[in-house]
């Protein structure tokens, strides 16, 4: 039977399709436009375009003005220096000085420090909390936990940042006697608050997906409930838990407001976890409003954004692979 052609129906279908493609288009545009602004760095076309006047990018956020900062505000002469991509691997981040340095190492190490501390705390808490609610908890605790985690996930990151800056930082400093009130550790602890929900949710899903037959077999063989949970359910869900950690890593690595407010924001390259740090994301947040459009500093910040994009993209892809392929394959075989 031939389908009758209905112009109205056709138009509506096309418009719906159009809108769906616009969504897709914008997602691609993000990729294009973040990279587009960074590309001239590598084609040798970027150089210092304009004379800076007072560029105050080196101001601190938070009260730790005492932390050794890269460089005070200085006026820059107009000059045309071709930018070499190798400059990005230097050991100093001093974008606003007579001789600007754009080394990304301190920022990368800063991001890694904060992320590491956040995961060290949020990982076990999220995973074991998920284990508790999926195996041991009484019904009321299980049902009460979900909304609480959703509320934690719904806290705006400035609220967490504010809490870290005003309350947590002083408590931690008094507790551990930090030299600087705001530092990588404080930022990491605050970040853990933002990472727990994602680790919990993904782990919980993975634990809930473990086939009942495994649990029942273990219990039938005489294992106790906690032995079953610890030695059967938890290992069976490892790929999902691994994915949870990866997603948590991605969340912590890209989060901006919390680190902007709670880490002291000094681009230091030190091994200590209790020194102030400046992360990749915080650098964009703190400096982008002050740069001259089109100059090297502007492009380097976009390059950092492109890095964050690539990293979060890869982490998501890896996590998806672990959940979808490893976990599902394992349970299909079971």
């Amino acid at each position: 039977m031939k389908k009758r052609f209905r112009p109205g129906e056709f138009l509506i279908e096309r418009s719906i399709q159009g809108v769906a493609f616009i969504s897709l288009l914008f997602i691609c545009l993000i990729f294009v436009f973040v990279f587009r602004e960074a590309v001239p760095l590598f084609t040798g076309k970027a150089d210092v375009v304009t004379a800076h006047e007072e560029v105050g990018a080196a101001e601190t956020y938070g009260e730790d003005a005492s932390a050794p900062l890269p460089q005070a505000q200085q006026e820059l002469e107009q000059k045309h220096v071709p930018f070499r991509a190798a400059a990005l691997t230097a050991k100093d981040w001093q974008p606003v000085s007579l001789e600007p340095k754009y080394g990304l190492w301190p920022l990368l190490v800063g991001s890694l420090k904060v992320t590491f501390i956040a995961l060290l705390l949020a990982g076990p808490i999220g995973i074991f909390a998920a284990l508790y609610t999926s195996t041991f908890a009484p019904k009321w605790a299980r049902e009460g936990m979900k909304p609480v985690i959703e509320i934690l996930a719904g806290f705006p990151s400035v609220v967490v940042g504010f809490f870290a800056l005003v309350v947590l930082a002083s408590i931690l400093q008094n507790l551990f006697g930090f030299q600087y009130r705001l530092n990588a550790f404080t930022g990491g602890v605050a970040m853990a608050l933002a990472v727990v929900p994602i680790v919990y949710t993904v782990s919980e899903d993975a634990l809930a997906a473990v086939p009942k037959a495994l649990t029942e077999a273990s219990l039938a063989l005489g294992a106790t409930r906690w032995e079953t949970a610890l030695f059967i359910v938890l290992p069976a869900a490892t790929p999902g838990i691994f994915a949870a950690m990866i997603l948590g890593f991605g969340r912590a690595f890209g989060e901006t407001m919390i680190v902007l407010m709670a880490t002291g924001n000094a681009a230091l390259l030190t091994p200590s976890l209790t020194d102030p740090v400046r992360t990749l994301s915080a650098t964009i947040g703190a400096e982008m409003a002050e740069v001259v459009f089109g100059d090297i500093h502007y492009r380097v910040l976009f390059f950092i954004g492109a890095l964050l994009f690539i990293i979060s993209f890869s982490l998501n892809a890896i996590a998806e692979f672990f959940v979808r392929h490893r976990l599902m394959k394992r349970f299909k075989g079971a």
């Binding site: 109205g8 129906e9 279908e13 809108v19 769906a20 616009i22 969504s23 897709l24 914008f26 997602i27 691609c28 545009l29 993000i30 436009f33 973040v34 587009r36 956020y61 938070g62 076990p124 999220g126 074991f128 909390a129 508790y132 609610t133 009460g144 936990m145 909304p147 609480v148 509320i151 934690l152 719904g154 806290f155 705006p156 400035v158 609220v159 967490v160 504010f162 809490f163 800056l165 005003v166 727990v196 919990y200 106790t224 409930r225 906690w226 610890l230 890209g254 989060e255 901006t256 407001m257 407010m261 994301s281 947040g285 982008m288 459009f293 954004g305 964050l308 979060s312 982490l315 998501n316």
Partner: protein, 301 residues
């Protein structure tokens, strides 16, 4: 010394319970601290007046207004686009088709991108590209669109919250029973008539949930608007799309980090944070409640 099985068991259960309750305790602690520190400073005057004395006194009305405007413009764009995309994904293309998978992958990717990268995109695409070209065409002499404003900030935020809407609406559409669709089609309704009369009414709750969650997310995120439109202080409320605006989250950020007198403004900081927290909490809680109700109704049906 060898621990008996029961003792080890107690330790294991106790430790996992401790982890779970420490998360709950953290939520209670944060909320308690902020409510405790902020409640006494909240008054009608604080909510309805503009900041005064170089932002060391006065209220936060412009920030509340700006936040409201931001989420309204954002929702007007993001909710329809997200809903239509979800309809396309679930009603027009085969769920397993390559195209559906590509779009779904893109949406997943979008939800994982850090908020600050959206800010960069807003700057690079809306301000530097779209705005500059608009100016080139319409007002070659004056800077009008090629600078941060509330429209660009709202559109950036709409893009950030798009995945929230799409996922929520798709979930809702999935729960409309196939039999209803088939009955409608069998009675001679076209595909669009079926969607409008059967699928959409059946998933209205999901669309509403998605919209509420998007608004909550949009009201809470600050990173995307840092350099796409939020302003430190404005003497006037925004009246035009090309105006900048003050925003609650941004206000918290600058008051805590760049205020002239951080000690003196501490009550304002607490109270502003409390307003922001109360706003997002109310939104999230109603979304959770709404979803629970829908789920229960679905179970009963």
């Amino acid at each position: 010394m060898k621990l008996s099985k029961t003792v080890t068991g107690r330790i294991v259960v106790g430790f996992t319970a401790f982890c779970a309750f420490s998360a709950v305790a953290a939520v209670a602690w944060i909320m308690g601290t902020i409510i405790w520190g902020g409640h006494s400073h909240i008054s009608w005057a604080f909510l309805s007046q503009a900041p005064t004395e170089g932002m060391t006194e006065g209220g936060i009305f412009p920030a509340i207004f700006g936040t409201f405007l931001l989420v309204v413009i954002m929702s007007l764009v993001g909710v329809p686009v997200g809903t239509i995309t979800a309809i396309y994904l679930s009603e027009y293309v085969n769920r397993e088709s390559k195209l559906a998978q590509i779009i779904r992958f893109a949406v997943n990717t979008l939800s994982g991108i850090p908020a600050i990268v959206f800010g960069l995109f807003g700057l690079g695409f809306f301000i530097q590209f779209t705005g500059k070209n608009l100016d080139r065409v319409f007002s070659p002499d004056a800077l009008h669109w090629a600078q941060p404003n509330i429209l660009w900030a709202s559109l950036t935020m709409a893009l950030l919250t798009l995945p929230v809407v799409i996922v929520s609406v798709e979930e809702a559409i999935k729960t409309v029973p196939r039999e209803l669709r088939e009955a409608s089609l069998a009675l001679g309704a076209t595909r669009w008539q079926t969607i409008r009369r059967v699928v959409l009414p059946g998933s209205l709750g999901g669309i509403l949930t998605g919209a509420i969650l998007a608004v909550s997310r949009g009201a809470g995120e600050v990173a995307p608007i840092l350099f796409t439109g939020a302003a430190y202080f404005l003497p006037q409320l925004p009246t035009h799309f090309s105006d900048q605006f003050m925003e609650l989250g941004y206000h918290v950020f600058i008051m805590t980090t760049q205020s002239t007198d951080v000690e003196k403004t501490l009550p304002i900081q607490y109270a502003t944070t409390l307003v922001l927290l109360a706003l997002t909490f109310t939104l999230n809680f109603s979304a959770i409640a709404l979803r629970a109700r829908l789920r229960r109704r679905r179970m009963a049906a």
